[in-house]
């Protein structure tokens, strides 16, 4: 499990280098082939014992964050979200710019806000990153327009749960790395695709199909939970601790019925706890894989995660371990899977 290392790296969409390098280092001796494609996707290959089918397991390396869009005269930085980040989670946080410069997103003290603005949700235009620089000139020595900005949350593990940033989708990356570490051979040829730019419109995954022409793709995600006291139970998407979530539909894609049922059958066969993802909001690279080229049957297995797209998300380690187990069993099924 590489959740600590992976989530403490910065890899905002379009700037996945740190994450890619880390994964590359850890897996390069355990696979038959490894390449980085034009967009920056890292694709590892493990030959199958029969090799009549090609299966892609995909997780995205990128996370939501920000980009510096202007350096103001007073030395503060204007910024814009990269991917979906609610303004709610921005103020009062420490961020890292370009992998090194530390800054904070502050907001005007409660004492000097007028009544109206106190009760009005913030917009990103009202927020700036402060790096301790007093002028544009001073700030320009450390940051440039276009620099990437990530949250700085330290990973924590306690009580069977872990908290940190970017479980969407470093959880998926870690699951893939765990599967590679097991170093088993399966019947099908396997491609582990660590893709870029998922959070800005499922972009990295768009060029994978053409390179592999897979028979099946399974996307491994960190997905929304929503199981908290502010949402009535009927609105929950998943529930932490009930096992990995299997998706039947999300934005832009109804999961191939054969794949969906095959995943469920494996879970049932090996008594692996699992749950259906019970909302159709959000999307994954499965939609992109399914509609690229001549189309591919794609499925989704997810680790339920609370508070994603914020600086502190949370997953249950049982769910994580069961996701690894479920995928391992799927691979062990070999040609019997989704026949």
């Amino acid at each position: 499990m590489y959740l600590k290392e992976l989530t403490e790296l910065d890899g905002v969409s379009g700037n996945e280098q740190q994450v890619r390098d880390f994964i590359n280092q850890r897996i390069k001796d355990k696979v038959d082939d490894l390449r980085v494609d034009v967009l920056g996707n890292l694709i590892a290959y493990k030959k199958g014992t029969k090799g009549r089918r090609k299966i892609v397991l995909a997780a995205h390396m990128d996370e939501v964050g920000f980009m510096v869009t202007n350096i103001e005269e007073d030395g503060t930085l204007a910024f814009s979200p990269v991917g979906g980040v609610e303004t709610q989670v921005m103020p009062g946080k420490v961020v890292r710019i370009n992998g090194k410069t530390i800054g904070v997103i502050g907001y005007k003290a409660i004492h000097i806000q007028d009544k109206e603005s106190l009760l009005k949700p913030l917009s990103v235009e009202q927020l700036r990153i402060y790096i301790g620089a007093k002028s544009k000139e001073e700030a320009s020595k450390q940051v440039k327009i276009g620099d990437y900005v990530a949250f700085t949350t330290a990973f924590d593990q306690e009580n069977g749960r872990v908290t940190g940033k970017a479980f969407d989708d470093r959880a998926g990356c870690s699951v893939l790395m765990d599967l590679i570490e097991k170093n088993d051979r399966y019947e099908d040829d396997l491609y582990f695709a660590f893709v870029v730019q998922e959070e800005v419109g499922l972009r990295g995954s768009a060029v994978v199909v053409e390179q592999i022409h897979p028979d099946i793709v399974i996307v491994i995600e960190g997905t929304t939970a929503g199981d908290d006291p502010e949402l009535p139970e009927y609105q929950w998407a998943t529930h932490l601790g009930d096992g990995p979530a299997v998706t039947f539909m999300h934005r832009g894609y109804v999961v191939n019925k054969k794949i969906y049922e095959a995943i469920l059958n494996v879970a049932v066969k090996y008594s692996i706890p699992h749950q259906a993802k019970r909302r159709t909001a959000g999307g994954t690279d499965a939609a992109r894989f399914a509609r690229t080229g001549a189309g591919t049957a794609a499925g989704v297995v997810s680790v339920p995660s609370r508070y994603i797209h914020s600086p502190v998300s949370m997953i249950d380690l049982n769910d994580y371990n069961n996701a690894v187990l479920l995928l391992q069993k799927i691979l062990e099924e070999g040609e019997a899977f989704a026949r």
Partner: protein, 334 residues
């Protein structure tokens, strides 16, 4: 004493109003070597006393408490609700880590937030009040011990930003630090007046910390050291700058003569200061200290600070040092 390390250490301590004991214990240890004696009054205010060679009684005040939260409800599934101690903007609460002080130790929590995928217009168009904010305790071994009445603070480790320090509770641990540094300076400067360094509690709720001791000590004069809004535009007001020295306050809750004397001392010794007008109440302990007993001559010295009452308050350690110098010098004259 390294000023940055001192401020960072004090910022890390948890002490919302009424629960300052841990903070005061640390301050007591730090200041004890520099004074004649230290003691606490009935409401838990810490006093560090240093006799002078002349006459007069000068109290120098900083509050040890910080804004924070208290657990008000426990919900099924290891969740809790909280309310604020002092004024906290709910807008800065989401996705913060918090520390909850339970009887069995410090539990960890996360303030939850709906992911964008599940947010609807009603969530986006409204600022949730504290009724809607919840803490997830399932990431903590001690989560099951959290109970109503437990004190809670945002978990924030101080960071350095180009020489400035950023963290929680800089309001008013920066002030506390300046008092400790001033006491240290009195090892070489000699104080004319009897000096009482007062570390009080419950400032953020306008509680009894400062006024009780001001009464008890029968002070002639009091200097209150607190923080003020720096590097932000407040309509109609001069902009106080972070890094340009402490702000000396002028206004009805300040004694005019005492204030001008303080300004003179600053000028004479090249202590960088700024002037801050407070046309009504100052919003600090000064307001009530002035009215204590038969009246006390007051001055207010404020350390410029950004993002007050958020976990990312910013101060410049140079301002803290300049404040300490001004305080120490103020004790040496009649």
């Amino acid at each position: 004493m390294d000023v940055k390390e001192l401020i960072k250490e004090l910022s890390l301590l948890d002490g919302p109003s009424g629960y300052e004991a841990e903070v005061l214990k640390v301050i007591e240890k730090k200041i004890e070597p520099f004074v004649d004696k230290v003691w606490y009054n009935k409401v838990g205010t810490l006093v560090a006393e240093k006799k002078g060679f002349g006459k007069g009684k000068l109290g120098i005040f900083a509050h040890a408490d910080e804004v924070g939260h208290v657990i008000t409800k426990i919900e099924e599934g290891l969740f809790a609700r909280l309310e604020m101690i002092g004024g906290v903007d709910p807008k800065i609460m989401f996705a913060q880590r918090v520390r909850i002080h339970t009887k069995n130790g410090v539990a960890k929590g996360v303030v939850g937030v709906l992911p964008p995928h599940l947010q609807k217009e009603e969530h986006r168009n409204k600022v949730p009040n504290f009724d809607k904010i919840f803490v997830d305790l399932s990431c903590s071994e001690l989560g099951k011990y959290v109970s109503v009445g437990d004190i809670c603070v945002v978990d924030m480790k101080p960071v350095e930003l180009n020489g400035k320090l950023c963290g929680k509770a800089m309001d008013d641990r920066a002030g506390c630090a300046s008092l400790i540094l001033a006491a240290q300076l009195l090892q070489t400067l000699r104080n004319y007046q009897d000096v009482y360094f007062v570390f009080s509690g419950q400032e953020e709720v306008a509680g009894p910390g400062a006024v009780s001791i001001a009464y008890e000590l029968k002070l002639d004069r009091a200097i209150v050291v607190d923080v003020t809004h720096g590097d932000v535009k407040v309509p109609q007001f001069v902009q106080i700058k972070v890094g340009e020295g402490p702000a000396i306050c002028v206004g009805p809750s300040i004694d005019r003569e005492f204030q001008s004397k303080l300004s003179e001392i600053a000028q004479k010794h090249n202590v960088k200061t700024q002037i801050e007008p407070a046309p009504g109440r100052s919003g600090t302990d000064t307001d009530e200290i002035q009215l204590t007993g038969s009246g006390i001559r007051t001055a207010l010295v404020s350390i410029p600070l950004m993002y007050m009452h958020t976990p990312v308050e910013v101060v410049d350690p140079k301002d803290v040092e300049e404040t300490a110098r001004l305080l120490a010098l103020a004790t040496t004259v009649e």
